[in-house]
Symmetry: C2
Subunit: 150 residues, 2 copies
């Protein structure tokens, strides 16, 4: 069954949904962020069918999220590397981490997010870059952008 | 086909994926955040089948994200209202907005996110609450939580 696509929607949330609300995709991204860049590593770590993993990786290549890179000629070996666009998904996954940590566990999760340099625990928070205020659904509105006048 | 479930995974991203990577769910949430709280409004705005919308709303109720609230007795009318847990998803959708705005459009999207009180444009950014530093995949690591010693 072909799903309704949201990739030409007017709304930025819808277009990101088209990419991320694909079952397994956020977990494939998580593993790539954790440094597992080879097909066999991803397949083993996720316990995912090879067909599904292939489909998801091809989609990420098509979207310019990852690039397939040959890192050995004999034997021919490939790995998947994030593009700049791909790395920009880490904040989204971080926000998902925060929600999951706060709301989806009865006790604290067994894993924690830390700063690689300082070792300090990291607590992702989504703020308005302009004011530093945490995003609040009560203060947020969507409006039509005014055409810019040059 | 029953999907692999991630709702008992050790990882907070996986549990949030179980909730959000359900096709349509982020858009149902977006409409609820936009104040469309009645079934008919949601069905019309999203152009979604009633069966799919019912399934998604029931899932959101089961997860404690929304509550079904009767706001009129004659005729009996209901609306879906966010719980505190549900409102905590707005930062996640905000982070999706930011990614979509930056990376999924050739030109600027036709809509923008603004502060309801000041009217100023809002730019969601995911930072570490402790340091204020933007989340950066190169500085982020996941480690096993040390047991707390009381």
């Amino acid at each position: 069954m072909r799903r309704t696509r949201f990739d030409d929607a007017a709304c930025p949330i819808a277009r990101t949904t088209d990419l991320l609300a694909d079952w397994w995709t956020p977990l494939v991204l998580r593993e790539l962020f954790a440094g597992r860049r080879r097909f066999e590593q991803l397949a083993e770590e996720l316990d995912i069918s090879r067909a599904v993993l292939t489909q998801r990786l091809n989609r990420l290549i098509d979207e310019g999220i990852v690039e397939k890179h040959q890192y050995s000629e004999r034997p021919a070996r490939f790995e998947y590397r994030f593009t700049e666009k791909g790395r920009a998904l880490w904040p989204v996954l971080s926000a998902m981490w925060r929600f999951g940590e706060d709301w989806m566990f009865d006790d604290a999760p067994a894993v924690e997010l830390v700063d690689a340099e300082t070792g300090a625990a990291v607590r992702p928070e989504v703020v308005d870059a302009g004011t530093g205020r945490p995003m609040d659904s009560f203060r947020s509105r969507v409006r039509l952008r005014r055409p810019s006048v040059d």
